[in-house]
């Protein structure tokens, strides 16, 4: 393949296109693909989006460039604020989160979109791998209108049959009413976006299934790297390629330092 965009750019553009104007986008730390995607959507087609980074709320559609931070914490992000999310009471208007969109990673993600940031190993007191912890994902995934699972790697260790621990409930053990039965008001995970493909959740049983294959990736490639049987709705389309305009905006107004270009696509 000879496309001149990277996988990370492809992923960012896919996510950006799926975000709608007027939505509130909540982004945590250390997710450069997502940081780029929400900015791209905001300047491309989301003048009424609100971005929530690190407890600040902003709309920056009027700015020519929205550079990504080298790291997420200091004043270079919060300078854009119009307000602090609930004046330091970050969980005070949860009821409105049905308009909010969130993004989550995972040490493990299972076939029903449950996510594990706690750790790996059968004995919680003696984990083989200790993860970073749930951050705010249990609460956010409970309430937001929908969320995206975004992974940096697609391997059988990451995409597993069943999470050793669940720190964010996706569709549990399956079924379209799995969340309603537990009283979780949020809409659950919509897509799982990885370096190989995009997956969604089947309407009936909410099993993860192939939605789109990144250019040059086959269904067999994905299955070989996935720890559970992927159902599919054949034929699986190819993930839409970024347009020249999208790449131009992404590179000249968002990802000025080239974080997403640092490794080119295969």
């Amino acid at each position: 393949m000879s496309q001149d965009y990277t996988l990370q750019e492809l992923m960012a553009v896919f996510i950006a296109r799926d975000l709608r104007d007027g939505e509130v986008l909540r982004v945590g730390v250390a997710m450069p693909v997502v940081e780029a995607a929400v900015r791209l959507a905001h300047v491309m087609h989301g003048p009424n989006m609100e971005l929530i980074f690190l407890g600040t709320r902003m709309n920056v559609a009027h700015l020519h460039s929205l550079p990504m931070p080298a790291f997420g914490w200091d004043r270079r992000v919060v300078r854009w604020a119009e307000s602090y999310s609930d004046t330091g009471h970050r969980f005070d208007r949860v009821k409105d989160w049905h308009q909010h969109v969130f993004f989550i990673g995972g040490v493990q993600v299972d076939r029903f979109g449950n996510s594990n940031l706690i750790g790996v190993g059968p004995d919680y007191r003696r984990l083989r791998f200790r993860g970073p912890g749930p951050v705010g994902t249990a609460t956010l995934t409970t309430h937001v209108g929908r969320y995206y699972i975004v992974l940096n790697s697609h391997t059988p260790r990451t995409l597993v049959e069943r999470c050793d621990y669940v720190s964010a409930f996706g569709w549990g053990t399956g079924g379209a009413d799995a969340r309603r039965q537990l009283g979780l008001p949020g809409g659950g995970p919509k897509y799982c976006v990885t370096p190989l493909c995009v997956m969604d959740f089947a309407e009936g049983d909410k099993h993860m299934r192939l939605h789109a294959l990144h250019p040059g990736v086959s269904q067999a490639d994905v299955q070989a790297q996935t720890g559970f049987d992927l159902t599919t709705s054949q034929p699986v389309p190819t993930t839409p390629q970024p347009t020249p305009e999208e790449l131009h905006v992404l590179r000249t107004r968002v990802d000025l330092a080239g974080l997403l270009r640092s490794t080119k696509g295969e």
């Binding site: 709608r20 104007d21 007027g22 087609h45 003048p47 009424n48 609100e50 600040t56 709320r57 709309n59 559609a61 009027h62 919060v78 854009w80 604020a81 119009e82 307000s83 602090y84 999310s85 609930d86 004046t87 969980f91 005070d92 208007r93 949860v94 009821k95 989160w97 309430h143 008001p185």
Partner: protein, 294 residues
């Protein structure tokens, strides 16, 4: 809502007040957004459930808008122990009271804001509140076994607030802090309308984002002197003479069954003026200018 520009949220006072329909639950902040309150009376909205305190509540009752009061305080401040129309209407059984208390109300509003079916509160344990309001349930806490009050969500359809300023996108800033429960009333509500003394530029908001007390409210209404006869911090103080005139009229109606003055007050100040500006003209610019803060 695809659009190429960020949409403003400035609304005319009539359009904004039209969000409130008869039968709804509304919350009124502090100082009360009197321009909007008077609009409701003028429109003849009725059967409201009202979360409000003090004399704006009293005026809504006098104006015939209220079926039920979520009540924690219906006094009138110095010299008025109990709001007169509230007192009469409750004693006559004309309106229903959902008896609560400030901490309990804040808890119920917080439960609504946090999408929780209840929140526990200790204040009120041992009192008559769970008896006179059966929606407040005594519960045993599942961890320590203590007795608490389980407060259900209190959820306004529309919250009406008054503030100093807002930008066109609904970022509200106060001078001298938001009133009593304003932030709780906003967070719990489906929609919030804020009337302000001044609309400011979005750049002014960004100059001090911490000063944004409420972000992204649903509608902003420009209403200079809009809290009159109440105070608006940073702009003017309370018009005691006007309030006193209202209290006298309401007292005469409630206690002495002489409703003429109250009917006259409602006609003059709430029903006849077609707009807030018309109301201000009746009050008179000299009176308004005399209400300077210091």
């Amino acid at each position: 809502m695809e659009s190429t520009e960020r949409q403003q949220r400035i609304l005319g006072e009539t359009d904004a007040a039209a969000w409130v329909e008869s039968g709804m639950t509304i919350a009124v902040g502090s100082p009360p957004p009197m321009a909007l309150v008077r609009q409701l009376i003028r429109r003849g909205v009725s059967d409201l459930t009202v979360i409000d305190s003090g004399l704006s509540l009293d005026l809504l009752i006098a104006g015939g808008c209220v079926r039920k009061v979520v009540s924690y305080y219906a006094g009138g401040g110095f010299g008025v122990a109990v709001a007169p129309s509230f007192r009469r209407a409750v004693e006559q059984g004309e309106i229903e009271v959902w008896e609560c208390e400030e901490g309990i109300l804040a808890t119920g509003l917080q439960a609504a804001a946090q999408a929780l079916p209840f929140l526990p509160w200790r204040g009120g344990v041992g009192t008559s509140l769970p008896q006179v309001n059966p929606d407040l349930k005594l519960m045993t806490d599942p961890i320590g076994g203590e007795t608490l009050i389980a407060v259900p969500p209190v959820k306004p359809d529309v919250t009406l607030l008054h503030a100093a300023t807002a930008d066109p996108y609904g970022n509200v800033q106060h001078i001298g802090g938001p009133g009593w429960l304003d932030l709780f009333l906003h967070r719990a509500a489906d929609r919030t309308i804020v009337q302000v003394e001044r609309i400011i530029a979005n750049e002014d908001t960004r100059a001090n984002p911490w000063a944004t007390t409420i972000p992204s409210v649903d509608a902003v209404v420009r209403a200079p002197y809009g809290a009159h006869p109440y105070y608006s911090r940073g702009f003017y103080v309370q018009d005691q003479a006007h309030l006193q005139a209202y209290v006298s009229a309401a007292n005469a109606s409630a206690r002495e069954n002489r409703p003429d003055d109250l009917v006259h007050y409602l006609a003059t100040y709430c029903r006849q003026p077609a707009t807030h500006a018309d109301y201000l003209e009746r009050v008179g610019i000299k009176r308004l200018l005399s209400l300077y803060e210091y």
